[in-house]
């Protein structure tokens, strides 16, 4: 299988879906001529033209509104927000309009719409460009939230997202764009709501998504030296959430750590930990641990940023707290 980079998996998926379905088109800031700030839409304008790979003004709410109108009337837009920070500018359109329309119009509005955005910290971009705010969107019903950790997952999930009849927020991680992985040429389709066990283990379950999957895998390596076998579950989609895979694993390991890059307070980890406690309280050997970002705006200084964001070492510490 050929190895490609995470950003190349985006353009592969988009190109294949645009070829397959003439209703699919891409719009966003710098997606066309520039090929995307993260190179994710490179080559698409040359292949499909400026009509279907449409450069837009810097107007995030407008971009999402336009995509919604197009989706409601027969097209399948893939809107890029460049980074999820700018999604906050478009929050009214995403939450008040896109995620609610099908329900509040009694099922009459069809919204096959994908919103792509890069997120995550770790590159010293300061407080306004380091967001991991997936919990804000998972909290809102009506929009799917997908966060792939590998090129393979990205391609398979993005193609599924484009074919989905629901609006999908597709969150890519800035620090993963250059990561490599094996991806077969041609059709890869991964279902939503199916987590992937990235490493099997018997002693503790680590639940993660996006970049934290890689931190969890590093943590599992370190723990293996201590004789602790950690199972790493990559959720891949947060909405829908694969509750069964989480609970099945924890029922076996009887210990769990949830690792996320988002803020700890009211994060997705809090929800998952609570669900595990509700379902498996009497099966657990220890309380579920949460690893998350410090509840501060992400600082610029390299040492402080490192302190603010969770990593493999933190996951190791959390695991040791409930296994020793």
């Amino acid at each position: 299988m050929p190895e490609i980079r995470y950003y190349e998996a985006v353009s592969q998926a988009l190109a294949e879906e645009m070829t397959r379905d003439p209703r699919v088109f891409v719009l966003g800031e710098d997606v066309g001529l520039v090929g995307g700030t993260f190179r994710a839409t490179e080559g698409l304008m040359a292949e499909f033209g400026a009509r279907r790979v449409r450069d837009t003004p810097i107007a995030e709410a407008g971009i999402i509104g336009v995509a919604m109108g197009a989706a409601m009337t027969g097209l399948r837009p893939v809107a890029e927000l460049m980074t999820l920070n700018f999604g906050i500018v478009a929050m009214d359109q995403i939450i008040n309009h896109v995620s609610k329309a099908r329900y509040m119009f009694g099922g009459q509005a069809q919204l096959p719409l994908v919103i792509r955005a890069a997120a995550g910290g770790g590159t010293q971009k300061g407080a306004q460009h380091s967001h991991s705010i997936e919990s804000w969107f998972v909290n809102a019903p009506g929009i799917r939230v997908v966060m792939p950790s590998t090129p393979y997952d990205l391609k398979g999930l993005l193609k599924t997202a484009i074919r989905s009849e629901d609006p999908v927020l597709f969150i890519e991680h800035e620090m993963l764009y250059n990561s490599k992985g094996e991806v077969p040429d041609g059709e890869v389709l991964l279902p939503f709501g199916v987590a992937d066990v990235k490493r099997a283990g018997r002693d503790v379950t680590i639940v993660a998504w996006s970049k934290m999957v890689h931190e969890a895998l590093r943590a599992a390596e370190l723990l293996a030296h201590e004789g602790i076998e950690a199972e790493v579950i990559d959720l891949r989609t947060l909405d829908p959430l694969d509750r069964d895979t989480i609970l099945r694993s924890v029922l076996r390991t009887r210990r769990a750590v949830v690792a996320e890059e988002g803020w700890r307070t009211v994060g997705v980890g809090a929800e998952i930990a609570s669900q595990i406690h509700e379902a498996l309280f009497y099966e657990l050997e220890a309380p579920v641990q949460r690893v998350a970002a410090a509840d501060v705006p992400t600082p610029y200084a390299a040492n402080l940023e490192k302190l603010a964001l969770p990593d493999a070492q933190r996951i190791v510490e959390a695991v040791l707290k409930i296994t020793l």
């Binding site: 088109f25 009509r51 837009t56 003004p57 107007a59 709410a61 407008g62 971009i63 999402i64 509104g65 336009v66 995509a67 919604m68 109108g69 197009a70 989706a71 409601m72 009337t73 027969g74 097209l75 837009p77 009214d92 359109q93 008040n96 309009h97 329309a101 099908r102 329900y103 509040m104 119009f105 009694g106 099922g107 009459q108 509005a109 069809q110 019903p141 009506g142 799917r144 989905s164 009849e165 629901d166």
Partner: protein, 324 residues
């Protein structure tokens, strides 16, 4: 005047029906059958009527939270709209939308949005969709004077002109954004001229004169349909009631309201049709009686209609849980 007699009678029927419908809504609201925010359209009948009757059946209309009239003129039945206001399963959105969220796919009416200005980029997206699919349809995008101060107003106009889209922005300038006078809220309150900042032709019309609105809209619809790009029409009008059912409108003087009521669009059209010999008094009375009957029937229908079944609670959040 170039508008055919039959069209004039149709417009008269529409305006009388809107007036009677809104009076019925006020009664039902007072009687506790209708909840939430409910914004009446009494006084502005000439705008929705003159504008929307200039559209083809497969053109689109999209609007704000004050859209009872727009849906009626588009062709939604009084029964389906009244039942929606009563929150019943027979409502146009199955009771999930309410007053601010009418939507009728069958009649190319795309909502009904409760956030000021929120519909503007969505309507632009619909127009983009028409252009990309080489469809002949245009989009009529309604908004109020207050929305012209929202960021998305500017984003929407900019993109519409940038891509030369077939959208007719119709500003219903009733001079008040909720309770704030346009002179207090808008640094420049000749709203039709705001379009010029985007290279979009802006027009102004007497929104209390349905024939003038219709004539102007026929011209603008033709312009947009023939590839002329976006246009903006400011229709100056007045709402007789407060902003919503819970607003007594005390921020306006009695004298001001009386002045506008003298310009009432319904007797104005009646008088001109009588003078032109298009109708006689008996015909006008018959139209009034018919509207009474339609609205009384709609209220009876709504009251007798069932509430949504409990299982509707979880229907239509996502495509897969579609209702029957």
């Amino acid at each position: 005047m170039t508008i055919a007699a039959a069209d004039q009678i149709t417009m008269y029927r529409n305006m009388v029906l809107i007036r009677r419908f809104e009076e019925g809504v006020a009664e039902a609201y007072a009687d506790g059958f209708i909840g939430g925010f409910t914004h009446l359209y009494i006084g502005q009948e000439a705008v929705a009527t003159g504008a929307i009757t200039a559209l083809n059946h497969d053109d689109y209309a999209i609007g704000t939270y004050r859209v009872h009239a727009h849906a009626l003129v588009r062709g939604s039945t009084a029964r389906s709209l009244m039942a929606e206001l009563y929150g019943r399963a027979t409502g146009v959105c199955k009771g999930k939308g309410g007053s601010m969220h009418f939507f009728d796919a069958q009649h190319y009416f795309l909502g009904g949005y409760g956030i000021v200005g929120g519909n503007l980029p969505i309507g632009v997206g619909v127009a983009l969709s028409m252009q990309m699919q080489s469809r002949d349809a245009v989009v009529m995008n309604f908004f109020g004077d207050g929305a012209s101060n929202q960021g998305v107003f500017h984003e929407a106009l900019n993109m519409a002109k940038l891509w030369n889209l077939p959208v007719i922005f119709v500003c219903e300038n009733n001079f008040y954004g909720i309770g704030t006078d346009v002179r207090t809220s808008s640094s420049f309150n000749e709203i039709h001229k705001k379009a010029q900042g985007y290279g979009i032709p802006g027009h102004v019309v007497n929104g209390m004169d349905v024939l003038a609105v219709r004539e102007k809209c026929e011209e603008l619809v033709r312009f947009a349909r023939q590839g002329g790009g976006p246009v903006l029409l400011e229709a100056r009008c007045y709402r007789y009631q407060g902003h919503s059912m819970t607003d007594a409108g005390k921020y306006r003087s009695v004298a001001e309201a009386e002045l506008w009521k003298k310009r009432d669009p319904i007797p104005r059209l009646a008088k001109s049709m009588l003078e032109a010999g298009i109708v006689d008094a008996a015909r006008l009375e018959a139209v009034q009686a018919e509207a009474n009957e339609v609205v009384t029937d709609a209220m009876r229908f709504a009251e007798a209609s069932p509430w949504p079944a409990p299982e509707a609670l979880y229907q239509d959040v996502y495509a897969e849980d579609a209702s029957a």
